[in-house]
Amino acid sequence: MSRGHHGPTLVLPVGDRDHAQGQASAPVTLVEYGDYECPYCGQAYPIVKAVQKTLGPRLRFVFRNFPLSEMHPNASNAAEAAEAAGEQGKFWEMHDRLFEHQDALRTRDLVAHAAGLGLDADRIAAELKSHTHAPRVREDFMSGVRSGVNGTPTFFINGERHDGPWDHQDLVAAVEAAIEATVE
């Protein structure tokens, strides 16, 4: 890709509302818009983990919800469950567990995952039932729509949409290019 990137950019900057792994001072922030029931996001999950391992403290990773709920009937509920777990301090544990159990995303599964993580499962069941976290999930979704997300997963590297392939090698190369760009 050329240096002069004029593609879509993130309209909602990464901030306190986001779930992030890594330091805000990292030279590069990778944002994923993803769907827990999407098979491609399931493929991307271990790749992102490997990219984080390769780049260490040079990378901050942020996950935002983009559930295609008409296509994936459990996706919105799963996203809400991750947000509910986040309220109890275990967003990433739930995020990982959902991607590792993409075949178990019905409400009863989500509650069982919460219990398995040592969370207050009754509270999560109640929050799922009343859709406490649905507005947050929709906010993520619409921020993606307005930023040019048109399918999942979609990645942004320092705010610019990553329009290339997203296997380990490509993502690492794209992040390293972004690091170089910040140094220049």
Binding site: P8, D35, C38, P39, Y40, L68, S69, E70, M71, F141, M142, V145, R146, S147, G148, V149, N150, G151, T152, P153, T154, R161, H162, D163, G164, P165, W166
Partner: protein, 173 residues
């Protein structure tokens, strides 16, 4: 599935899609095997016309699937979304059922591609339309249009921005 990677190698459109300011050509097309819809039925509200090449694109979160998720945002300014391709009404019916689409798909089937031609977005060499978007105002005038490379899902941001600018103009007048 992310379609963006398909931008590489996709040819740019050099046709003559109708531009903003043009009157939107009237049409009547089947939405189901026994129902038809005319553009003029929607006079008084904005219409989003989304031409796409074909039903059954083999990706997750394809263009119609994405729009299906965003319908509440389209309908807030009372806009009606119409998908349109050269597929027949039976094919549309099966596709819409499979993808749980909650908006009409129009069959530009006989004579094939006639409406796409009228809007300047038919690919005669391929036998299907461009991926082209038109936002038509309440008076039937095209206010925004966009043609994407066929392999690229244009997303929804352009449509939402066009609908917002329509609303702003209305509130001023």
């Amino acid at each position: 599935m992310n379609n963006n990677e398909m931008t590489f190698g996709a040819s740019q459109h050099h046709g003559h899609a109708l531009q903003p300011g043009s009157r939107a050509p009237e049409f009547t097309l089947k939405t189901t095997p026994d129902q038809a819809v005319s553009l003029s039925e929607f006079r008084g509200q904005p219409v989003i016309l989304a031409f796409y090449p074909a039903d059954w694109s083999p990706v997750c979160g394809d263009q119609m699937g994405l729009y299906n998720e965003i319908l509440p945002e389209f309908r807030r300014p009372q806009a009606e979304l119409l998908g349109i391709s050269v597929d027949g009404a039976w094919c549309h019916a099966a596709f819409a059922t499979d993808r749980k689409l909650h908006f009409p798909l129009l069959a530009d089937f006989e004579p094939k591609g006639a409406v796409a031609r009228a809007y300047g977005v038919y690919r005669a060499s391929d036998g299907f339309s461009e991926r082209a978007l038109f936002v038509i105002d309440a008076d039937g005038v095209i206010r925004w249009s966009h043609v994407s490379p066929v392999g690229v899902n244009p997303g929804a941001e352009g449509i939402l921005a066009a609908l917002e600018s329509l609303q702003h103009e209305e509130s001023k007048s």
